[in-house]
Subunit: 182 residues, 2 copies
């Protein structure tokens, strides 16, 4: 008989690792979290993580994908609300984890896996914003550029600790400049 816990069904342990990692990344950041710490939190040995993931960067990608999935499904339930509210909420989702977005940017240069994740993330975000911005009546020509500006402003907000009302002010200003009536 197996020494430990009983084998969990397919993929359940992988998810346990991701849950542990998400918690620690969110609290102490990526660099502040060792594989050792993740393993301990998940109740396994550090090297076991390497059975499920090629390396630490890939654990990060797993955590990020969970965040995106959660963010998108939550966004679905807010389909009725104005762009402004949905933006505000989406930023909230990605802000909590101690600037994981900064870690992504810092590692893009050194990890192929992170680089492609980051590229995909940007395309997705831009695509969503373009369709939102078009709905509101911005000419299609303009929409692409405005969306990229919005992406940068959003990432700026994610990268810098700020007050709730600063966030409102900046998003409102950006939307107003772009021609969206608040």
């Amino acid at each position: 008989m197996p020494r430990n816990k009983r084998h969990l069904e397919q993929g359940e342990k992988k998810q346990a690792i991701l849950t542990a990692a998400a918690e620690l990344f969110t609290e102490n950041g990526f660099d502040g979290t060792s594989m050792n710490a993740i393993a301990k939190q998940a109740g396994i040995t550090p090297n076991t993580i390497y059975w499920y993931f090629p390396g630490k960067d890939d654990v990060l990608i797993g955590v990020l994908n969970d965040l995106v999935r959660d963010g998108l499904t939550e966004a679905m339930t807010m389909a009725g609300l104005p762009v402004r509210e949905r933006l505000m909420h989406a930023i909230g989702v990605f802000e909590r984890p101690e600037s994981l977005m900064n870690t992504v940017h810092a590692r893009v240069a050194h990890s192929e896996a992170i680089a492609t994740w980051h590229a995909r993330f940007h395309m997705m975000l831009e695509q969503i914003l373009i369709s939102e911005v078009c709905k509101v009546g911005i000419p299609t020509e303009r929409a692409a550029t405005v969306s990229r500006l919005l992406v940068y402003v959003i990432e700026g907000l994610l990268s810098h600790p700020h007050q709730e009302n600063d966030r409102h002010e900046m998003i409102d200003a950006m939307l107003e400049l772009a021609g969206v009536d608040a």
Copy 2:
């Protein structure tokens, strides 16, 4: 007599360390550069660096300050040119080093020294932009918010590899939205 090189005059060796670090950070990034590598490039032993700097983060701060100093003095010589050109040039200065700005953001949460440097840098940049934006005729009320948006867009450009003409397009769009005629 001293075993090595002869003592350089006050501060000259410190500068040698910074020069070595700047070169390596620019080429391989902060995480991709070990204290060992910096020391070797500077022709000293790794632990000697700790005589001049409290730690690796402080070496980074030294490198960044050199960059800012160079950027500002260069900006002086461009006093006559329009905002747009000056912005474009300033971004160029900080873009070369493999996303050092991303490293700064990633370490703000873990290093007090980096956090205060970063806060100061933002205030400086915002102050400069506010005065520039006012000169161009934006109402003072607006200027502060527009400047913060600009800071985020600039950092976005610094954080993401992009084509030269993308940069032009985004800065132009931002300035135009803000009411500055290109």
